[in-house]
Symmetry: D2
Subunit: 285 residues, 4 copies
């Protein structure tokens, strides 16, 4: 159990002594806190906390923690999730024809930037097949037209279940997922949108940016939710452009942004640093 940490993500109504009671719980069982961060939302008097401690030396076995923590959680009316740093989530990457984000995720995975396993590449096209297979990742092709969407999504969901997928990453997947699909993976679908949301939501944002004559473009990593492009934002970044940039130049500059922002959003999620609070996120960087 050496070097493994436990992580609690907590949200509850604000009250006095929350930090003390949570840190006491860990201290009482001989835990050594390595990171702790908290936030109080004044809007709705909510308290959020992320606390990470070493399992090494901790008096409770990992499977004993939930039962031991439950009384305090109940008393403070918490929503809470417990994670362990040695858990390796299984990811399915959805992609259409642009492969740069997929390529980037594969590179980062191979460099050890992510503690995750890319279990499958799923696409409505076949462009990604060769790349996936070059790196030994299974590729699944679900072509989608106006008539078969629900049927194909059901097959995709079945596949995700069979593969025990924990997280779906939309790495420039140009199909809109149905609410039914999203309901199966609440806050477990991360999308990269190639604009600085809420500017240029919807299709072809680089063309929109060009037409509007903005001097900066952006990319947004967010949880996909029912309302397209309105899910809680995890990460954003921007880059300058000028009148000399044609749409193709903007797309090329944007690709760098998309890769970086998607990777950042994904890493924050995988490190259990993101708490969703309504339409927004708390990111404990």
């Amino acid at each position: 159990m050496k070097d493994v940490n436990a992580i609690l993500l907590i949200s509850c109504p604000d009250s006095k002594g929350i930090v003390a009671q949570i840190s006491n719980f860990i201290y009482r069982h001989d835990g050594n806190i390595v990171h702790a961060a908290q936030h109080t939302s004044k809007d709705d008097k909510s308290f959020f906390m992320r606390v990470e401690w070493e399992l090494n030396g901790f008096a409770l076995k990992r499977e004993e923690i939930p039962a031991a923590f439950a009384p305090l959680a109940d008393k403070l009316n918490m929503k809470w999730d417990l994670y362990f740093s040695d858990f390796v989530p299984r990811i399915a990457v959805f992609v259409s024809r642009h492969l740069h984000c997929l390529h980037d995720l594969i590179l980062r995975r191979s460099m050890g930037e992510f503690n995750a396993r890319i279990e499958a590449v799923i696409s409505n096209h076949t462009d990604a097949r060769e790349l996936a297979q070059q790196f030994g990742i299974k590729f699944y092709h679900f072509p989608i037209d106006k008539d078969n969407k629900d049927r194909q999504e059901e097959k995709e969901l079945k596949l995700l279940q069979d593969l025990n997928v924990d997280l779906v990453v939309l790495a420039r997947y140009m199909q809109i997922l149905t609410n039914k699909f999203l309901a199966c993976y609440p806050y477990k679908v991360i999308n990269i949108h190639h604009s600085f949301l809420p500017a240029f939501a919807g299709g072809n944002p680089y063309q929109q940016a060009y037409d509007r004559g903005v001097k900066i473009i952006g990319a947004t990593g967010h949880y996909a939710t029912e309302k397209l492009d309105e899910g809680p934002i995890i990460a954003q970044d921007v880059i300058k452009i000028s009148h000399r940039d044609e749409v193709a130049d903007i797309q090329m500059k944007g690709k760098d942004l998309e890769r970086i922002v998607l990777a950042r959003a994904l890493r924050l999620h995988l490190e259990n640093k993101v708490l969703v609070c309504g339409a927004k996120t708390i990111v404990f960087e």
Copy 2:
């Protein structure tokens, strides 16, 4: 005439030999080009150029240049403007209650960053009176309510004419100017909008940004035109925020942006580096 430069801003249909013919015109009269930049818009086959040369040694007197240049301009079907670097435009700054942009403009003016003269501060409130007067600038108060707007604007326009104002700067002026006003100063009214347009157009953009949970905020310097917040963008910049930033924090961070972006947009305009092309700008930085 030492150290004075002439500047031509040109737009015309694209064709072969434009650069050659323009630079020949200058060379033929013994002019020394110190800066030249051009751009071709592929969308509509338009050509844009900014060329700056030394009057010192130039064979034509400044008042002779227009007549000498006109034949070439006509031949190439140009829209063109001629400026001289020793011209000191007269600016009127419109402001409401937030004074940071006004304060910043005064500072930059005193440091010599702008070659311009702040002729008047005009406001629908009186908050700016003391600051303006501290620095010897005339202050004019035009209170505006729902009934008197047109009447007050007429007085403002009269004042601007009396003062020979060349350029209007809206330095956080919270009233919407009428089309009639704007028509008197086409592309001569520069506004700072406190968001990264087109995101969060309209009122209270920092509150909007907070509610949406974006991770970056921005500011936009643009020409004010009939459609509010849709004028050609001159400059934009952004800064990161996080869930820890309350609306007041976002406002404070935004103030730095507003000051910098407004100053940048204004300086580009004063240096005759901005050409308007439909809803967009060409900025020859």
Copy 3:
């Protein structure tokens, strides 16, 4: 005592249960923590914490806190400082001939960005006199030549004591303070250096940047210490430049950076968010 917070800045050897014991101390006396952040330096097994709680409802009077906290502090071998959010520090601003940072500090002060009082402007030149007096701040002139430096610094120190100055801000002060002076204000002298340290330490950094042909320039806000330009860094920022930027352009761009970075460093210090750890800082933003 409404709305006043107490802030503890703590550093001590790392051990289990520190967060629990500190938060218990506050909870036991009915305190409501509004912010808490901690950091463990793996290099030397040190623990750092900033905790802020409401005095309103707290069982101890502010003057009773030190004695009540001392036993825990001793047990954990802490270095600690206690602050109250209603304390208004008295600042002396040292400046030479460039006034943009001073101007900026005055503006921010008047907008309420800083909870501090600019008690004096001190200069080896007289350029700042008018500006200071325009805003009702006392101006003191201590001309410095190669022979009188120690004598003048003694007078300055005497003045700072008479004025009960808590913090010295070097807002483009071009004289090097002696170690004797700095020893009187340990980590209470904040300097703005107009480069991205450690690049271009020493004199004339913008010229150095120009000569080297860098594509980005920076500014650094740091505590002044005995080794010039090697004090702990509080804040840095950068801006892009190009071959088109002459030294004068670089200076102008740099001025914006200097103002923003100095203000950021100062605000972090005034909000008691900076802990010094050897040659480095922990900044609890």
Copy 4:
């Protein structure tokens, strides 16, 4: 010859009429200029220009251009280079054990971001072998120890000649090339240094950055020259870090920078947008 452009990179002593004479040369032969940019260095009265025009419709064949241009070039005492946009340079990528930059170059090449051919991957280690071969690129292993460096470099040079390599990219190659090697490829060796030069030149810059406690790190793409880390800078970029970033975190953040900055520097070079001027570059973006 459709869609192929000719590009002239020119430097010469400044004088009147250079732009006119060069653009006349092109116009006289029916050329259509698509981009033109110029710069005058006030330091040494030098003039720099990049001009690009369409070969389609140009009256001279590409092989006739040098002879036709030579008289003007001689008259104005120019150094000049002529390029054609359909030329596909052959690149050798040198790499040691960190593969992210190599991986990135391969990705960008496959996306068509570069108009170049990666002819060989050359390394003093074998880590890159598999990646290179996965993408069908020849891999060459030249192990280097303290005794064999000159001998191995000679073999490398021989290989580069055999492969007709036009450009060498040091994509995190941890050996220092000898002056003899560099003399064979003047301004044809592009290196990525993982710091914001001139800060943290030499080895292990991320450790240096960590030890100094800077709040921003950078990366620098530059031509490799005799003086290590002092070659003309083509591109730089930065990213923020904090006290929470351990050296490993800094390295991870830095990898993104290195990839982007190396790609930007390489693309600017491949698009013939970089002119070297002493220790600096003119970059016609």
